[in-house]
């Protein structure tokens, strides 16, 4: 019994807080909310505070929204600048390609801090990972964020696909009523959006001048403090070790389905012998071939990206074949009493082929490979990879007949 009054006072404190917030926004909560009769609480804990006046039937309040601020174009959600557990879990999931295609937020105008009509407007993509990276870098700032509908795709890729486009910027500026919210006529866009957005066309179409902001969200604070000037390092993409490793899991997750087909093929090929097919041979030889395939994946999709700047050669297919051969040799050294000449050759060719192909595919995850260059290396590499793959199969089947 001693606890009850205290709980009640907490609950009332909450109510007072909501009421205070609501009155800040010029809405009288008291008039519209009938107060419960506190003494007649009969079961359970005291009731939750009354709903916010910004609640709408059929809509759920997202956890990253703190509250709302009233503007000439209606209430604008004010977002938190720190990430909670759910945000972090979401980030880890999309890094493994889980829910990646649908990880997006509603486009439109958002507020951070208490922006006024002179506050800068940052434009970004509606991929939630992008939005999270941005908002955690702008705590203590008072800015508007204009989120475009880039179909849940990050800034650079969306710009390449013409989703983070001139037309979308103009459309979203008009739809959000931005010109009634701010007095100035400036938008700060991430530099990497320049692939899809023409600054002069945006100016013509919306009256807003595009200022090219830094590439990385982490530089936005100093960009704003430095009167919208970015130094050279803010304007250059990087691809350091952590950035390379961040894109590895997505590449690996793309391999799940092809791997199932590969395993089927591996066990079929491994069972071929002088009796046409033998299950007794398929199992141990299939395991060895699977190991060679796994070594190829490790070499091409993990080791090659990790050691990218230090592996000799410019062509990714070449870098991948080098790491693949090294991993193949590693397996041969570990299992050499069991592996004969032809087996060993097959293991090495398999690891090299898979690794070369996967490293070549890693070009799509890098920020520096030109399409002309990728096409050039592919025209040379794919016939060689096909040849090496066929030789691996031939050596593997041949080894079953050789001894």
């Amino acid at each position: 019994m001693a606890k009850k009054p205290q709980q009640r006072s907490e609950c009332c404190a909450d109510e007072n807080l909501s009421a205070a917030r609501a009155s800040q926004h010029g809405i009288s909560l008291q008039a519209s909310m009938p107060q419960p009769i506190q003494d007649e609480v009969c079961c359970g804990a005291p009731p939750q505070p009354p709903g916010s006046p910004y609640e709408r039937p059929g809509y759920a309040l997202l956890p990253f929204v703190d509250d709302f601020m009233d503007t000439p174009v209606g209430p604008v959600p004010r977002v938190k600048t720190d990430l909670d557990l759910k945000d972090h879990v979401g980030t880890i999931a999309v890094r493994w390609a889980i829910n990646r295609k649908n990880y997006k937020i509603a486009p439109g105008l958002y507020a951070v801090g208490s922006p006024d009509q002179n506050a800068p407007v940052l434009v970004t993509a509606n991929y939630k990972l992008t939005f999270d990276v941005l908002r955690r870098q702008i705590e203590t700032l008072d800015v508007w964020i204009l989120v475009l509908d880039t179909r849940g795709i990050n800034v650079w890729c969306a710009a390449g696909k013409d989703l983070f486009s001139t037309a979308e910027v103009i459309h979203r500026v008009q739809l959000s009523g931005l010109e009634d919210v701010v007095r100035h006529r400036q938008l700060i866009l991430p530099q990497l959006a320049a692939t899809g957005v023409s600054a002069q066309e945006v100016k013509k179409g919306s009256g807003f001048k595009v200022i090219w902001g830094p590439i990385r969200a982490i530089d936005i604070k100093s960009f704003l403090e430095n009167s919208l000037k970015a130094d050279d390092s803010m304007r250059r993409v990087t691809f350091d070790f952590m950035e390379r490793m961040a894109v590895v899991p997505v590449e690996l997750s793309h391999l799940l389905k092809p791997t199932l087909w590969m395993l089927g093929g591996i066990f079929l090929l491994s069972g071929i012998d002088s009796n046409i097919f033998s299950l007794a041979a398929a199992w141990p030889r299939g395991l060895m071939a699977t190991l060679a395939y796994a070594a190829g994946i490790l070499a091409g999709a993990v080791i090659a990206p990790a050691l990218l700047p230090w592996i000799p050669g410019r062509s990714f297919a070449l870098k991948g074949s080098i790491t693949g051969i090294c991993c193949g040799i590693g397996i041969i050294l570990i299992f050499h009493p069991k592996l004969q000449l032809w087996d060993s050759l097959a293991v090495m060719l398999c690891a090299a082929t898979i690794s070369s192909y996967l490293a070549m595919n890693f070009t799509g995850s890098t920020p520096f490979t030109s399409p002309s260059g990728v096409e050039k290396e592919m025209r040379k590499a794919i016939p060689l990879q096909a040849l090496a793959g066929l030789m691996a199969v031939a050596a593997w089947i041949g080894s079953a007949f050789a001894y």
């Binding site: 530099q191 990497l192 990087t238 070009t363 799509g364 520096f368 490979t369 030109s370 399409p371 990728v374």
Partner: protein, 92 residues
């Protein structure tokens, strides 16, 4: 990005210096520092650093820059070989 160099001599990037008005927009938007301003004209100072993203051409007010933009991604290029160049081909 100095320790990341891709195949040399392949980029389709071209600059028509006569049309250049020296606004410097290309030096701002290029993520690889391919352009520099020299005597109120843009110049290509690192042609092999170009990844053909197309940002410079898109933002050049006098269309002095030409490049065939695209995504340097093997799986995308394989799809365009098989299906032909169309927006349905997806990469990243």
């Amino acid at each position: 990005m100095d320790n990341f160099r891709y195949l040399p001599g392949v980029s389709t990037l071209k600059l028509n210096v006569d049309s250049c008005i020296g606004c410097g927009m290309c030096t701002i938007v290029c993520p690889h520092g391919v352009f520099a301003l020299d005597n109120r004209k843009a110049k290509i100072c690192d042609h092999d650093g170009c990844m053909e993203c197309g940002a410079c051409a898109k933002n050049c007010p006098t269309d002095a820059i030409m490049v065939t933009p695209g995504v340097g991604c093997a799986s995308y290029i394989i799809q365009t070989w098989i299906k032909g160049k169309r927006p349905a081909a997806q990469c990243c």
